[in-house]
């Protein structure tokens, strides 16, 4: 059964990460909780779709929430789902950190950055207030552990996110990377790069490009550097907010982000578009992929997105899902703005735009 050949692991993850029995089974329990809740969620959806609460014109999410939440006020299933998911989220990071700790001697060596000094850091004074929030209930935040980048990518994604979420998480990133309109980019900047999940797809899609990754998490950047090095790549990595990178004006011909915008408040989203325009050469392209607009979701899915965001430590999801990103792009000065839905229920939702001016060189 047990210690024979290494098992297949999700795309882009290390095959040699093996947890001790407690850590492995605790992480698997958390994933099984998600699976165990599905019958309750299916019953709840069925009840809602047989009633009138989901009648919705796609515009007033607060009205939809009020109608459905009112319908479910006494619903035992929703209470159990909420309590179970809250407990699940509250223990997820601590469990993953403990699992890492059980195998720290082995895993620390696999998590260590190649050259931490090579990661440029704009310093604490550049860190915005919104960064202090523990997104997704990530205990301690994205830098709450020396190796949080490794813990998040290799343990949380592998044991919980990849098996729990529909669709091919890494295939979606590859699809968005391929959507950029040209094939010969030379300088790409990936804003909010994290551990480089999307950055890696950019590198694979545009092998001739020099790649810069920007993120606010030191530990995520360090593991991004490690992942790049193990793939034979070298990225320029910078700790800075996406809306104020300090990078040179006109240094890039493609600026990207993948699921960054729903983590930041609306004023920061506007600044990110402005910063992207500044970073691009004339004729350069922007590709930002993020959560699907509520108006393009089915009423049940829109209600579920919004309920889950409110109950799942996502303070800026609703604003991102109701903000006109195309309008913001035009206000920032972009042209050729278009938006594209790549998957079921309009996710990934991609905004593409071009900086006006002569074709980039």
């Amino acid at each position: 059964m047990t210690t024979a050949a290494q098992s297949a692991v999700p795309d882009g993850m290390r095959a040699d990460v093996e947890l001790a029995q407690r850590g492995r089974s605790e992480m698997q329990f958390l994933q099984a909780m998600r699976a165990g809740l599905r019958p309750l969620q299916a019953r709840l959806r069925d009840r809602l779709e047989k009633g009138d609460a989901l009648a919705w014109d796609g515009t007033d999410i607060a009205g939809l929430r009020a109608a459905v939440d009112g319908e479910l006020a006494e619903d035992a299933d929703l209470g159990i789902i909420g309590a179970a998911l809250r407990w699940n989220r509250s223990v997820l990071t601590p469990r993953a950190v403990d699992a890492f700790g059980e195998r720290a001697e082995d895993l620390s060596a696999k998590a260590a950055p190649v050259d931490a000094e090579a990661i440029t850091d704009r310093g604490e004074e550049a860190v915005p207030r919104y960064w202090r929030y523990e997104f997704h209930g990530t205990t301690g935040g994205w830098d709450g552990h020396e190796h949080m980048g490794f813990v998040h990518h290799e343990l949380v994604y592998r044991y919980l996110l990849v098996p729990s979420f529909p669709g091919d998480i890494f295939g979606q990133r590859a699809s968005v990377a391929r959507l950029a309109p040209r094939e010969d980019y030379t300088d790409i900047c990936d804003l909010g790069c994290g551990t480089g999940q999307f950055t890696m797809k950019l590198a694979q899609t545009y092998p001739g490009a020099r790649i810069t990754g920007v993120d606010l998490s030191v530990s995520e950047l360090r593991y991004a550097q490690r992942r790049a090095a193990e793939a034979g790549l070298e990225w320029d990595l910078l700790r800075a907010p996406a809306e104020d990178t300090g990078l040179a004006e006109g240094a890039f011909d493609l600026v990207t982000s993948f699921i960054l915008l729903h983590e930041i408040p609306p004023h920061a989203i506007r600044k990110v578009f402005a910063e992207a325009l500044r970073l691009l050469r004339p004729g350069g392209d922007l590709v930002f992929s993020d959560v699907a607009p509520y108006r393009l979701r089915s009423p049940y899915q829109a209600w579920h997105d919004d309920w889950d965001a409110e109950n799942g430590h996502e303070p800026w999801w609703r604003t991102a899902a109701t903000t006109d990103l195309a309008g913001i792009a035009r206000e920032a000065g972009f042209t050729d703005v278009r938006q594209e839905a790549l998957g079921k229920e309009s996710y990934p939702w991609v905004t593409l735009a071009r900086k006006p001016g002569q074709e980039r060189l």
């Binding site: 047990t2 024979a4 098992s7 089974s25």
Partner: protein, 91 residues
């Protein structure tokens, strides 16, 4: 009467206590699963090798049919836990 023996004390009276009890239940269920998994690994190792050392348990990485069997048992276990709570809410 205040100051004398309270024979019918009730302590968990706030709505938050219900959520706290649910969290305790999840903690216990998680711990129960860790032990069930450990026992299953021990039994599997004994079936395969007839003997084992403590380190064998820690190094064991369930694969193939055994891993699938464990996954089915986990899901069945948690479906029963949540179903029982759901049915209690309907009564």
């Amino acid at each position: 009467m205040p100051g004398f023996a309270n024979d019918d004390a009730v302590y968990l009276t706030r709505p938050q206590h219900m959520d706290a009890l649910f969290s305790i239940t999840m903690e216990l269920a998680s711990e129960l699963w860790v032990l069930r998994d450990r026992l299953a690994v021990v039994e599997q190792l004994l079936d395969e090798h007839g003997t084992l050392a403590r380190d064998d348990i820690e190094k064991a990485q369930p694969r193939g049919e055994f891993a699938e069997q464990l996954a089915r048992e986990r899901e069945r276990f948690l479906t029963r836990v949540f179903d029982s709570a759901s049915q209690a809410g309907e009564s």
